[in-house]
C-alpha cells in the first residue's frame, strides 16, 4: 500500500504543473499567437530589395554616354534611440556628411530619416564596418554620365528615383527604365540568409544606341563653347548631320542645360540662311536661272508705301548667283515676290518647315510658317530673306541636308533599342530636281569661294554654305533690335559628295555680329576636325606652310588637285584679311 501511495503521490506531483503548462500553452498559442508569430517571422524572415539598374545609353560606336550603377542608400531607424541627435552625428561622421540638415529635420517622434542616398562603395563599406544598430542599408541605383557635361541637353536627366525627367532619358524612359523587386528571404539565428525567393526577371533593360558620335560631339561642344565665350554671346547651337542617312552626329548647345534643348525647342528667324528656299523654288519653277540679272536698286528699295528693304552693301544689277553670294535682301525679295506666296509656301513645306522633324526628344517645336493667306507682299518679301518666319536649328539643318542630297530625311537620333536590327534612313520625300539642286550647290559653293562665307573654308575640301545675320525681335520694343543678332552659318561638305551638314548659330554675340565673322570660323574648325576624325580624304590641294626663308608665312599648294573642279580661289579667299 505504501508503495502504491508513493506512486500515486509521485503521479500527482508529476501532473501538478500540467494545468499551468496547459494554460501557458493556451496563452501563447491562442491568445498571443499573432503577436508572437510576427516577432518570430521578423527575426527569421525578411525582405530584400533587388534593383535591376536602368539601361545604358551608348554612342554610335558603342561608347558609354550614360550608365546606372548598383549602389546603396542608407537610412536611420531611430526607434528606441535614447539620443537621436547623437546617433545622427555619429552616422554622419562615418559618411563624411554635414549633420546639420538632418538634425534640422529631426522632430520628436520622427523615426525614419534618409542618411545618404546613393553612396559610394567606400562609404558603404565604412558604414557596414561600423555596425551601427540604428543604420540600415537599402539597394539603390545611380545614373552616371562618364563624359561629364558632354551631350547634356540631349541626354537630359533623371530624378532621384532614376525616372527620366528630360531629354532622351524621358523620351525612352519606358524602354530603358530599371526595375526593383522586393523578395522574401529566410534567415537563421545569426542573420545568415538560408533561403531567398527567386525574383521574376533579372535581365538588364536594353541599351539605347544613339546616332551621336562622341568625338564629333566633343569637337562641336569645345568649338561652340569657345566661340560663345570669346564672342560674349548669350548662347550657341551647333548641329552636325550626315545628309546621306539623316544621322545626327553632334547636337551641341552652350550653355548646356539638361532640362532644355534649344536646337529643337527654340525657334529663331533664320535670316539669310533661308534665302536658298526662294531661290531653289524659283529655279525649279523655271522663273530664274543663276545667270539672270536682277536689279538690286542700289541698296534701298521701297517694297510698299513706307516699307523699305535695305542691303548691307549697295548693289546695282547682279546675277541670281551673286544675289546669293552677296546675300542681297532686295534681290531675294524680288525673286520671292515673283515666285508668289503659294509656290514659296509649298517650297517651305517641301523642305520640312512648319512641321516637326520627328526627332524623338520632348518639346520639339514645329516653327512658325505663316499660312498662304497671311502672306501680304511685304510679309512675302521679308519671308524670302528669312524674316517673319521662324525655324528650329534642327529644321534648317534637315532642310540643308535635303538640298545636299536631294531627299528630305527624318533626323535620326536613336539607331536602335537593344541589339535589334538598325532600321535604315527614314525618307520623307524627294526635294527639287537634280538640275536645280546641282545649280544651287554651285551657287552655295560660290558663297564660300567668292561671297560672304569665305571664313568657312575647310582646307582641302569644297564647301557649300550660307551665312546668316538675322536681327532679333526686341520683345519690349516690339520691333527688330538694333544690337541683337543671330549670327549663323550652315553648309555641307564636301560639296561634290556631301557627307556632313553643319549648322552654327550664335545668339546675340557682343564681339562682332556678322555670320561670316562669328559663325564661319567655327564651321570651318569643326568641319575640319570631324572630317579628319571620320577619315574623309581631302579632294582639293592642301596649303603647305613653308618652314623657313622669306616666304615662311605664305601658303602654297602641297600637291595638285585630284578631282579638280577645284575652285582655286578658295584658298586665296580663305586667307584674305
Amino acid at each position: 500500500m505504501q508503495t502504491r501511495s508513493r506512486i500515486t503521490l509521485l503521479t500527482l506531483l508529476g501532473l501538478l504543473p500540467l494545468p499551468a503548462i496547459g494554460f501557458r500553452l493556451l496563452w501563447l498559442q491562442v491568445v498571443r499567437h499573432a503577436q508572437l508569430e510576427t516577432r518570430a517571422l521578423g527575426e527569421t524572415s525578411g525582405h530584400e530589395l533587388i534593383v535591376v539598374p536602368r539601361g545604358r545609353i551608348l554612342d554610335r560606336e558603342g561608347r558609354v554616354l550614360a550608365e546606372s550603377l548598383s549602389v546603396a542608400s542608407s537610412y536611420l531607424d531611430l526607434t528606441g534611440s535614447a539620443d537621436p541627435a547623437s546617433a545622427v552625428r555619429k552616422a554622419c561622421r562615418i559618411v563624411n556628411q554635414d549633420p546639420r540638415p538632418l538634425l534640422e529635420r529631426l522632430r520628436p517622434g520622427r523615426k525614419f530619416l534618409w542618411l545618404k542616398r546613393k553612396m559610394s562603395l567606400e562609404e558603404t563599406a565604412r558604414l557596414k564596418a561600423a555596425h551601427l544598430p540604428f543604420v540600415g542599408l537599402v539597394a539603390d541605383e545611380q545614373r552616371v554620365y562618364p563624359n561629364g557635361e558632354l551631350l547634356t541637353s540631349v541626354l537630359g536627366a533623371t530624378d532621384l528615383d532614376e525616372k527620366g525627367l528630360s531629354g532622351i532619358e524621358l523620351a525612352y524612359d519606358k524602354e530603358i527604365s530599371g526595375r526593383s523587386y522586393r523578395v522574401r528571404l529566410q534567415r537563421d539565428g545569426a542573420g545568415n540568409v538560408l533561403m531567398q525567393e527567386a525574383p521574376p526577371d533579372l535581365s538588364p533593360p536594353p541599351d539605347l544606341h544613339l546616332s551621336i558620335d562622341r568625338s564629333a560631339q566633343h569637337f562641336a561642344e569645345t568649338a561652340l563653347r569657345e566661340a560663345v565665350i570669346s564672342r560674349r554671346a548669350k548662347q550657341g547651337i551647333l548641329i552636325v548631320q550626315d545628309p546621306r542617312t539623316g544621322d545626327l552626329l553632334a547636337l551641341a548647345s552652350y550653355p548646356s542645360d539638361p532640362l532644355k534643348n534649344p536646337a529643337l525647342q527654340e525657334v529663331y528667324e533664320p535670316g539669310s540662311t533661308f534665302k536658298v528656299v526662294a531661290l531653289a523654288a524659283a529655279m525649279e519653277k523655271g522663273i530664274f536661272k543663276p545667270e539672270d540679272i536682277i536689279n538690286c536698286e542700289g541698296g534701298r528699295w521701297e517694297v510698299a508705301h513706307g516699307v523699305t528693304i535695305k542691303d548691307h552693301e549697295p548693289e546695282a544689277s547682279i546675277t541670281l548667283q551673286q544675289v546669293l553670294e552677296r546675300s542681297s535682301n532686295i534681290g531675294t525679295a524680288k525673286i520671292t515676290l515673283r515666285l508668289g506666296a503659294s509656290s514659296f509656301h509649298r517650297a517651305c513645306r517641301l523642305l520640312g518647315f512648319g512641321y516637326k522633324t520627328g526627332v524623338p526628344l520632348p518639346g520639339e517645336s514645329s516653327g512658325l510658317l505663316p499660312e498662304i493667306s497671311q502672306f501680304t507682299p511685304v510679309r512675302l518679301a521679308n519671308a524670302g530673306f528669312g524674316q517673319g518666319v521662324a525655324v528650329t536649328a534642327l529644321q534648317l539643318t534637315a532642310a540643308y541636308s535635303a538640298l545636299a542630297r536631294g531627299e528630305l530625311l527624318e533626323p535620326r537620333l536613336v539607331l536602335a533599342v537593344g541589339d535589334g536590327p538598325r532600321p535604315g534612313p527614314a525618307r520623307i520625300r524627294k526635294v527639287f530636281s537634280a538640275k536645280t539642286l546641282e545649280r544651287l550647290r554651285e551657287m552655295l559653293e560660290g558663297v564660300v569661294v567668292r561671297g560672304t562665307g569665305a571664313t568657312a573654308i575647310v582646307p582641302g575640301f569644297r564647301v557649300a554654305g550660307k551665312t546668316g545675320t538675322a536681327q532679333k525681335i526686341d520683345p519690349a520694343a516690339g520691333r527688330y533690335s538694333p544690337s541683337d543678332y543671330i549670327s549663323s552659318f550652315i553648309g555641307f561638305v564636301p560639296a561634290n559628295d556631301p557627307q556632313l551638314t553643319l549648322l552654327v548659330a550664335i545668339d546675340s554675340p557682343r564681339v562682332g555680329y556678322y555670320g561670316s565673322e562669328v559663325a564661319g570660323p567655327v564651321f570651318s574648325r569643326v568641319a575640319r576636325e570631324i572630317l579628319a576624325q571620320r577619315g574623309i580624304a581631302p579632294d582639293q590641294p592642301l596649303p603647305l606652310r613653308i618652314p623657313s626663308g622669306p616666304n615662311a608665312s605664305r601658303l602654297a599648294p602641297m600637291r595638285p588637285a585630284k578631282n579638280s573642279a577645284a575652285p582655286t580661289q578658295a584658298r586665296e579667299a580663305a586667307h584674305r584679311p
Binding site: R63, V64, E67, L69, S70, V71, L121, V144, P146, N147, G148, E149, L150, N192, V193, L194, R214, S215, H218, T222, P459, G460, R528, E529, A532, G535, A537, P538, L542, P543, L544, R545, M558
Partner: protein
C-alpha cells in the same frame, strides 16, 4: 534471435546520423553558396564602378585636357595631316608605316 532488435536499432541510429550529417553538410554548403553569391555581387559592383571610372578617364574632354596640359600637345594643323586612306586597312601596320614614309 536476441541480436535482431539491437542490429535494427543500430541501423536506424546510423541512418539518422547519416541524415543528420547530410543536413549539416547541406546547411554548410548553403552558407558557402550564400557567401559566394554575396562576393560575386560585390565584385560585380566593383567591376561596374571600375569600368565607369575607365570610361570617365577615356572621355574626350579629359583626354584633350590631359594631352594639352601634361603632354603639351596641340591639335594638328590641316597641312600637317596626311590621309593614308583605305589602303592602310588592307596593308596593316607595317604597310601603313611604309605608306607614311613614302609620303
Amino acid at each position: 534471435m536476441e541480436k535482431k532488435p539491437a542490429v535494427l536499432l543500430a541501423a536506424c541510429a546510423s541512418l539518422a546520423l547519416a541524415f543528420l550529417l547530410e543536413q549539416v553538410q547541406a546547411t554548410r554548403l548553403g552558407y558557402a553558396l550564400g557567401r559566394a553569391r554575396k562576393e560575386i555581387h560585390a565584385q560585380e559592383q566593383t567591376n561596374a564602378h571600375l569600368r565607369l571610372r575607365l570610361a570617365k578617364m577615356r572621355s574626350p574632354d579629359l583626354l584633350a585636357r590631359e594631352a594639352q596640359s601634361r603632354l603639351q600637345m596641340t591639335p594638328p594643323s590641316p597641312e600637317s595631316q596626311v590621309y593614308l586612306g583605305k589602303s592602310v586597312e588592307r596593308a596593316g601596320a607595317a604597310g601603313a608605316l611604309s605608306l607614311l614614309l613614302r609620303r
